[in-house]
């Protein structure tokens, strides 16, 4: 009688542990992925497209020696939300014969007005206070304390990339 009772208890214990183990394992297999999904935005990067270099076009879209104005558009992706074609600003792009590039901000280093290219005088002209810059962005005359802002560029697969930062 005593023996069978002891056996009964250990059997009961075994079944209890076994069923809790199996049940616990199965439950963990369901709970872990659900928790993993719930904390996903915490653990992983969800915003893409904030890289430094922004594509502005193919090299042959730019005539040699003539500044061309380009809008800088960024595209950002936040999870499933796509922000495409956000205009951040504009730049003047000058391509040279050896395919080297100069990229200048269109904002005047004086007080930030938009600089134009004067094709007849071959100079950059600021309409606000008559600032004048040459094709390399150097100040020729006017109140500007410095030369035009320029940006770092690189060419990859015939595509021009600009490390655009807002300067004004």
């Amino acid at each position: 009688m005593e023996d069978s009772k002891a056996e009964n208890t250990s059997r009961r214990r075994f079944l209890k542990i076994a069923s809790h183990t199996i049940g616990g394992t199965l439950a963990a297999g369901v709970i872990a992925p659900v928790v993993g999904l719930a904390i996903h935005p915490w653990m992983k990067e969800t915003v893409y497209g904030t890289e430094d270099f922004i594509t502005i076009g193919k090299v042959d879209e730019f005539p040699v020696g003539v500044p061309k104005k380009m809008a800088i558009t960024s595209s950002k992706m936040d999870a499933w939300n796509i922000f495409d074609g956000l205009v951040m600003g504009s730049v003047w792009v000058i391509r040279r014969e050896d395919n080297s590039l100069n990229v200048f901000s269109t904002n005047c280093p004086h007080l930030g007005c938009g600089i134009n290219w004067g094709e007849d005088v071959k100079q950059f002209l600021c309409p606000c206070h008559e600032g004048i810059f040459d094709i390399d962005g150097k100040t020729i005359s006017g109140p500007s304390p410095r030369d035009m802002y320029s940006y770092e560029t690189k060419i990859e697969n015939n595509t021009i990339l600009v490390n655009y930062k807002k300067v004004i």
Partner: protein, 112 residues
């Protein structure tokens, strides 16, 4: 800590009542469908709430948000799968449970 939680919520008492409930006429495998339904219901609710956090109910981004959930998140495909198949399983279990209650006459007053 454990005692504090117990004092506030009576959680382990609830678990005891749920798990150690005496079954009239002895436990049988044919009685699992009710508990199965409770489990599935909780599963549907929890997976549904978690997935809501990744859903955007708009005509422009609904598809994109589901795509993101399915392909870009950790275990999103798995949780969505659980929810998907869980709903079908719930229908089946509900029917089986109904028949079981009906055939066993479980809705009648107990004598034993």
């Amino acid at each position: 800590m454990r005692k504090w939680i117990e004092d506030r919520t009576g959680l382990s008492k609830l678990v005891k009542v749920m798990l150690d409930e005496p079954v009239h006429g002895g436990a049988k495998w044919s009685y699992v469908f009710g508990s199965g339904l409770v489990f599935l219901f909780i599963l549907q609710a929890v997976t549904g709430i978690v997935m809501t956090a990744f859903y955007s109910p708009s005509s422009t981004s609904a598809w994109g948000s589901v795509y993101y959930l399915q392909h870009k998140t950790s275990f999103g495909w798995f949780v969505r799968g659980l929810h998907h198949f869980g709903s079908s399983a719930m229908m089946i279990l509900a029917l089986v449970h109904m028949f079981q209650v009906f055939i066993f006459g479980a809705y009648k007053n107990h004598v034993n």
